[in-house]
Amino acid sequence: MVKLDRLGWAAGISFRVCGLRVGVRVNDPAILPEVIKRLPWGWIPLEAPTVDMIFSLLVGGETQRANVRRFNLVYFDAARLARTTDLNAALESLEQSLDFWVSSQARNRVFVHAGVVALDGKAIVIPGKSNTGKTTLVAELVRQGATYYSDEHCVVDGRGRVHPYPKPLAIYSRATDTRIKTPVSELGGIAGVKPVPVRLVIASEYREGALWRPRELSAGKGVLTLFANTVSARSQPEAALAAHQKIVSGARVLKGVRGEAKETASAILEELTSP
């Protein structure tokens, strides 16, 4: 770490997010605006440079010698995370790492891997691992009028309320076989701005041709469903369980397979809005 500290750091930013003080330093001030675009949602700048964790981005830059490559390097404290000649990949690696460490170390929030939308001031939480169709269902719920909170992280406070984390949705494109970052405005939706209590938890997985006929889980199983998708489950189990207890105290938990997102979203919203 001392060696790293001795390098010429030209610029940086320190900020607070989820009870953590984080710093990012770079050797090229021109890259700082790109770094700032990729900071975790909800960050607040700090005056003081003292931080709990520090990320460093060494930009390799151009070289006049054709046979010499300069790598872009990303560090978390003294541990090297990434080494690449592709600056964009280095920036993505930095963003992923910031996201990961904040979600796993957050002090006053519990991060659940889940999509979240809100309707009438209450959240619908869709926990699940990657490839279970969360983003697709979230996008469809937004198209049908729900307010967007996140397609990736359900950020829960000690009162069981969900805070917005409205980064662009990573929507899968069959045409390019990649995920495209899509701002919610492009779906005709809006992002939430304030924390809301949870009304409904939907544990579902896409299966072609399936009909949405969920069964209701008990409160205890509901907690475990959320816990099974909690980033800090092993590092902060007590806080995680307490937050999920609060969630299920006021919410129903449904589980089942679902077919196409459009039909499922309609069914969910109809049930919530019917008298």
Partner: protein
């Protein structure tokens, strides 16, 4: 009374456990095994009564009194089997000689229906933090240094087919989606 595994009185384990009550269920997180358990009402009641002094029959009578409903001893033995399986007992009860292992199916087949729910423990393993991360592109995976104390991480890749970011090839090789 000396408490050893040879006594007939089971004792609940308390060390390294986080316990939360949720309505009529009890959640138990085991810090030793990183498993989370959900005990239904009956399993929770049996566990609570395992104080190292009460026998299986005693426990059945206590629950009968609390619920004002008959409780067969076999129901408590079934709970014991589950609690022992998930290491929630410091020591279990000594099974009488010749008594077979109890199962839910056996109780139902034997017609031992009960006014109380049969005990049930639902269990999951707490996920590793890396397993909960968002998917990463192969390009990002390839930038990771697998011996940096964090490794390739095992995060899911954006490539179709359920690939994850893992160490590929020799130690000097970068991580890759496989």
């Amino acid at each position: 009374m000396n408490e050893t595994s040879e006594t007939k009185a089971p004792r609940a384990r308390k060390d390294q456990l986080i316990v939360k009550e949720v309505r009529d269920e009890v959640l138990v997180y085991d810090l030793k095994t990183n498993k989370a358990h959900c005990l239904n009402d009956t399993a929770a009641r049996v566990w609570k009564e395992c104080d190292g002094r009460r026998s299986v029959s005693d426990i059945a009578r206590v629950i009968e009194r609390d619920l004002n409903s008959p409780v067969d001893d076999q129901v408590v033995w079934l709970a014991m089997a589950q609690l022992e399986k998930f290491k929630l007992l410091k020591h279990g009860a000594l099974r009488p000689a010749g008594q077979p292992q109890i199962s839910r199916r056996a109780l139902i087949r034997a017609g031992i229906s009960s006014a109380v729910l049969l005990p049930l423990i639902f269990t999951i393993s707490a996920p590793n933090a890396f397993a909960q991360g968002s998917k990463i592109t192969p390009a990002v995976c390839a930038t990771l240094k697998h011996n940096a104390g964090i490794g390739c991480g095992g995060a899911s890749c954006t490539t179709p087919g359920g690939t994850t970011c893992v160490k590929v090839g020799a130690p000097a090789d970068p991580c890759g989606c496989a």
